[in-house]
Symmetry: C2
Subunit: 268 residues, 2 copies
């Protein structure tokens, strides 16, 4: 039976520290996105965290016919606010709107959306790292999982897999990135000390993908028959440790976002 | 005995095409760097290629006491020239000068030095890719080495290894990045279909690192007892194919730089 890498204790510790630093400091998160249910739900979930940290949330929900210019202006306006400690823009955005990311001041770019923040991530220079891959690393650190010299296998080369690969390299792990075109996926995964799945395929990772020593982090967030589930099958029980979905990486991701806001505040 | 993946036939083909496109077109490469022997030698070697392609080279060699502001101004000036089809700035530069890369117009950034070009590489968006990793991919393509679904192992996570990892992912390879902290390096390398060494350690890669099926690309450029050599030991003969040093990736790298200049010219 594998150990559960629960996100809550890790997230609680981060939130406690953020609360101390931001309560009563007139700090605000600015969010900009369209008036669609998924983004609204995300902002609403962030608002609950924000309240506990003493962060105000200023959310703008745009009409679908808004121009790219208008969105860019909103972003610039948000960045100019004296109480701003973070500016979040919905992602992914349709191509025509993407220039908006470039207008996020990198000192407020708490989820690493501006191309200049991405270049800093790539170059291992100072700057904000995206919240989800940061949460994977933090969760592993919290549970004392060694990364240096270990073989980290990542399934997925998208918005989580790619930055995570770079971050794991910076932690001196040997990194393999797998994806839909990988041959012998299960076999490659079995060579991992740490296996991270971030591909959004429900129940992809089975016992065949792991050994008794594998530590598994499940970054999948899928909906199957009305239930939230990850990329890891429920019968994947052989591995030494595994992060559940929900309740694993998710809470830590939100905590990291607010920790980034604390850093933005402290750097002012 | 392994097949030699010679760079010359691949480079010749590229240069032929570049010559056709740039001869008599009043195209110029602008280079900016310090007055040090290595950079001067590189510029002089580029000048020989440039002459054959009909590209003028305008080289500025800076005094060591020049300010970052002055270098930035030179870069801006170079980008403003109507005949410019490429602007190259010495790399690596001391930290204080690095902002100069940001002033290279991305339409002339033929070696992918501007952070915005790097973000485009990361995001697999259109833009120039760095010449050396591009040359690795091109050399493999030239010799018909399949990449999709193959396991590409890269030794090195620096200025070649990192962009190459991203480019190989975009080519649907499964990618492993190894480095100085990798445990069981030879064993990991033996799992490769394609092994690329870009770490600058002479004779690191031996027969122990390969199988009879491995295709090896040697990106090392080392100097040992006055002789140029790569990262692959001369007694690594078991693999199916190998690119020599000198005469492998190097000539293709310079060809790719000029091909990028042709692209810059065509996009004007």
């Amino acid at each position: 039976m594998s150990v559960a890498l629960l996100g809550k204790p890790c997230a609680d510790k981060i939130f406690e520290n953020v609360s101390k630093g931001l309560q009563g400091r007139n700090a605000a998160l600015y969010t900009l996105g369209f008036d669609d249910p998924q983004w609204k739900q995300y902002v609403s979930s962030l608002s609950r965290n924000a309240e506990k940290c003493g962060v105000n949330v200023n959310a703008v929900f745009l009409r679908p016919d808004v121009s790219a210019q208008t969105l860019c202006n909103y972003v610039k306006e948000a960045c100019a606010q004296t109480d701003a400690v973070g500016v979040l823009v919905e992602q992914p955005l349709p191509v025509v709107y993407r220039e908006a990311y470039s207008f996020i001041d990198i000192s407020l770019d708490v989820d690493c959306l501006n191309p200049l923040s991405i270049a800093a991530l790539y170059g291992n220079k100072s700057g904000f790292r995206p919240a989800t891959p940061s949460a994977v690393v933090r969760l592993l650190d919290f549970y004392g999982v060694e990364l240096e010299g270990k073989h980290v296998v990542i399934i997925g080369r998208g918005g989580v897999g790619k930055p995570l690969a770079l971050m794991m390299l910076n932690r001196n792990a040997t990194v393999t990135v797998c994806h839909s075109k990988t041959v012998n996926l299960a076999e490659v995964c079995r060579s991992a000390d740490v296996l991270v799945s971030a591909c959004g395929v429900p129940s992809l990772v089975t016992n065949e993908f792991v050994t008794e020593k594998t530590v598994v982090v499940d970054v999948g967030l899928n909906f199957d028959k009305g239930k939230t589930c990850g990329d890891v099958s429920s019968d994947c029980t052989k591995c030494s440790a595994i992060s559940p979905v929900p309740g694993g990486v998710g809470p830590v991701t939100r905590a990291i976002l607010f920790e980034n806001m604390l850093k933005a505040f402290q750097a002012k």
